[in-house]
Symmetry: D2
Subunit: 354 residues, 4 copies
């Protein structure tokens, strides 16, 4: 089987490195181009990149020369983890040039014509692209029309995944979420050690707005080819804590009907959706793992569940103000970033968009 050739925009950053690590040995994709917006252009990736993941940089990537993040690139689609200030224009340019763009950047997430996708939650939102798909089919996978598909912000993925089965089964009327987020979420060099050692920072720029806005789009209803945001209010307070990987969220939720904690537990534990049914390569067996120990989930013990693609829910109980509460944790650079985009691409492929 021929693998699609993939370009990575923002390849030298934290998420770019995760893309490369997760795509090593991928059955459907092979990295053939790397691009970055910084001074590393023109150097071999092995020199340009200060590889910060455990283990070695895959050998076949080492010699790829870092290019500017502009079309054309020698690939069939691009993954993008460009910084927000350059992602908007660059991704638009690639889409116009006919490339499918699978982006982790925030620039286009709220665009009407761009799906904000979690394959387990809102695969139907791909309908936004249907005109695209039809055109591409006609052109026999030629450079017909490009498009952009985005995944949510790293903490939003985790929260929306946990809310999805509750919204489907009970309805959601209000959400209050408080996050404890890992330092890798800020990239590299990112958070200064003097800011986070023996400390907590109760602020992450734009994060609270992103959670409130993106969650409603993801859980919104498709109306024709438009997505109507979910109508319930969400309140988010975000904190950076001294954890390497793994975003935690303490969630209270007001449901649309009475429910026992055991029913919520069952809704989480039995959750399974399109990526599981389609057996997508990166899909975890269980999108939501439920732990019953009183002190779980914990970042260091649970972030790698399902290869970093499962979120883990615990501490499910009743709440005197909102009705229900629980804690959810997910790996922010896998399920919350590179892994999310790759799963999006796998769904696009399974559905005929690639």
């Amino acid at each position: 089987m021929t693998r699609l050739r993939v370009g990575i925009l923002g390849a030298t950053g934290t998420v770019g490195q995760r893309f490369i690590a997760l795509l090593a040995d991928h059955p459907q994709f092979v990295v053939t181009a790397v691009a970055a917006s910084d001074r590393s252009q023109g150097k071999p990736y092995g020199e340009a990149c200060a590889w910060r993941l455990a283990g070695d940089l895959p050998a076949e990537i080492r010699a790829l020369v870092v290019q500017a993040p502009e079309p054309p690139l020698d690939c069939d689609l691009v993954f993008s983890s460009l910084p927000a200030d350059v992602a908007g224009e660059a991704e638009t340019a690639f889409a116009r040039a006919g490339y499918p763009v699978v982006s982790n950047s925030s620039s286009h997430r709220m665009d009407d014509a761009v799906p904000l996708l979690i394959p387990e939650v809102n695969p139907d939102h791909l309908a936004v692209l249907d005109a695209c798909r039809d055109a591409r089919k006609e052109s026999a996978r030629g450079r017909g029309r490009g498009f952009i598909v985005t995944n949510p912000n790293c903490s939003t993925v985790v929260i929306a995944l946990a809310l999805a089965p509750l919204a489907a089964r009970f309805g959601v009327e209000a959400v209050v979420v408080t996050t404890l987020q890992a330092i890798s979420g800020a990239g590299y060099p990112g958070v200064a050690s003097l800011d986070i050692t023996d400390n907590v920072v109760p602020f992450i720029a734009n994060e609270e707005e992103k959670i409130e806005r993106e969650t409603r789009k993801i859980l919104g209803r498709l109306n024709g080819s438009n997505v109507e945001p979910a109508p319930f209010p969400i309140s988010a307070q975000c904190h950076r804590v001294n954890v390497v990987d793994g975003h935690m969220a303490a969630v209270r939720v007001k449901l649309g009907r009475r429910a026992e904690s055991a029913e919520l537990r069952e809704a989480f534990a039995s959750f399974s959706a399109a990526p599981q049914h389609l057996r997508l390569h990166t899909a975890p067996a269980r999108p939501i793992v439920v732990r019953d120990e009183p002190d779980r989930p914990q970042p260091r013990l649970d972030r790698d569940a399902g290869g970093g693609m499962s979120v883990t829910v615990g501490r499910i109980t009743s709440d005197s103000v909102l009705g229900h509460r629980f804690v959810v944790l997910g790996h922010n650079t896998i399920r919350g970033a590179a892994g999310a985009a790759i799963l999006n691409a796998e769904l696009l492929m399974a559905q005929g968009y690639l």
Copy 2:
């Protein structure tokens, strides 16, 4: 002026050490006895105690022999930070033997006849002791009748202090609080390093219940010599984070009337109460410090505000679910434990109970 002679129960523990550090050079109290429930009895304190605070153990304490936590002790009042499993009986025994007991332990906090006191918040709750006071006055500070006064759990102090001016000015109808608590709150050895390095633990035994229960008692209304708990619901989710000292709480609050964020800010910043008016030795000039920077409060930068006796509030803004939100931080072993008890004792003295 003669200083009251003080005994410390639980003197070798984390809070006991803070008592000793904070009482060095205190104008009204002098430590004359130390007691502990463990194997250290019979040894000089300098040997019995593994001193874990920065700086040296005060020289005058070094030679005091650790005694059993039973009356009689050579002192006029006792501060108690005994573990919960022994505090109940021991404190009752001291009170029956005529000692005023100023306790940081949880055993008697919810007793009807015991004030749960924050001097800035509910000094009127001392009325519960009025029969005591009258009796003691008659007996000319003799061993008339003892009594017990408690301070709240370490995170509750911080939360209740922040809620107090809001309750007074706007009324409070519901509170949702999510805590990020320091490791020193668990005592020594307390939290294992393997549990908290590169990690968060979303569980602190009994903490959520304590916050929900104690806050309502503190903000309750005095009816004769009874305290009726405040009627609003409180939801607490508690997390241990990798911070040495300083408990942080992310708070949403539903108020009894419409208010702008600026009004909440003003209510916090202008808050001043009995300890400030009485110029109590340990009282901070401002019980609540407001910081307007977007990324404050932070434990390492703000925990020592007001000598560790001020709490710091920041990030005051509107909230789409509850109406208002903010973040508050306080030093858990000073304002949240030893300093709280000492301030209680200073108020008792100023009000004639000692």
Copy 3:
């Protein structure tokens, strides 16, 4: 192929858990018995053990009932990670009862009749057991005579592995080593978080003595069936640092002859020994990985090299006092403990001792 049935003594501890994780799916061993010295006896392992490794406890171990660490146990050999205070007698009892004992405990390491083994370094020291082997062969793997084989202390393995190729090629005349050791080396609960957060502790009980003593035995010369300790002096200063896994050692070494840094680099990088030649299951392809970046090795990036069984050497340069220096890092609970013992057992099997 039939797998040998293995019992684990000290199965509920930190190293015991590593044994279980590393033996899952092992081609030669299968865990059939678990024992512990604590209150967990009589409970199923799944209940008795607070599993602290990432990922789930292997399902097939969950139901094994924890037994007392006394013979008989239903197994062909035992791995031991008992605490030092009980290991001595228990291991002797198992050996007397005819079990091969492969121990990570310190009790018997310095016994004359017990090899202190690193398969890459001193496989010839197994000659100490030769009488054993012959007897066992005769009895057709029956319960002939048991024996004890030990692996070194967790930091000693790392240091001795790095010294081995230098000793072989250049001779070693003096070693000065300063360690920075991970918290997992102290077991669980082990190091209190209040002792190590924002801190270093320049003391690990008995560690400096163990390094100085054990390294000389490992690098000692076999004389008949006796091991004569290497004659060079070793100086060790040991520190606990705030790292989860991975012991680092800064090493200066005085060699027996002049050598360039490049020669040391080559001696490290080309090092290969019995476990590699025998293709033992747990043996890493390269026992010593050399990194040339100026800031490596680092615990978080390099501890998992070779599945945790390689040590990583960097910063090789000349030294104005001792002649040469470098930094070496290894995974303390894998290469430094459970993995070391398993590799020992694999060598014993390959050499006919099992």
Copy 4:
């Protein structure tokens, strides 16, 4: 008494902030000018500086406008903590313009005409400036001739202070030092949290060379107005560890004559020098505090000894390779930087150079 008016070059950085904090309420100096090499020029200091120390920025500094680090500045002397790439020229310019320059920067430390000063160790090295002093005296503290005085690199101060009494009493023949250094030593933002959380970095740029070079100059012998570096070799290996403040050094030392550990202890504990005899304001009562507990010094418990100006020595014992060893710890931004420079200025004042 009139206070000398002080300008601070590099005022917005980590060490610059320490200068401001330590000079608040200083009896001899008052800050009248602040300068920085960055984009903050022209703004009030309160706006230009992201104050990162606990507590508030002193109010009287808030309104000072940040200037370029070029003469003239409205002050009698300047403290400099400029980055190395601009310090060289800027400090020379100030000295030429007649200002005494008391610098923490590395640019001029090894210049022949510049003392590299620790007031307790080599106050006699000020003789290098004697021509200066005489000229200044004549000009009645006018703008006669400026000069530059430097303090050592942050880890070198700590090491040299500990070696000083040994060199004086026993002679020193070789030193092997391994450091564990705090993140604040790298300034702000400095060390990325992703590089140091759950990690150690065995590399600090130029640090090993600085320790080896500067220590020999400090402990060198004055020959006329020249300093001859001490002749013994020093080997340094440097590591960054996850500690906020406090540099630790594990030291082995070969002495010039036989000595017992108890004699070293006594040499450390009784050490006292010019700053103590002159009762300089910033001088600690004891430059070296000796701790006899087996697990001290520790950064969090000992870095603030003597207001951050004492170093703490522990673990003094014999060493099988070099003869003796111990561990020493000091506060890197107080004794190792801003406090060092201020003590230098106090000595200059006491000796008539200011």
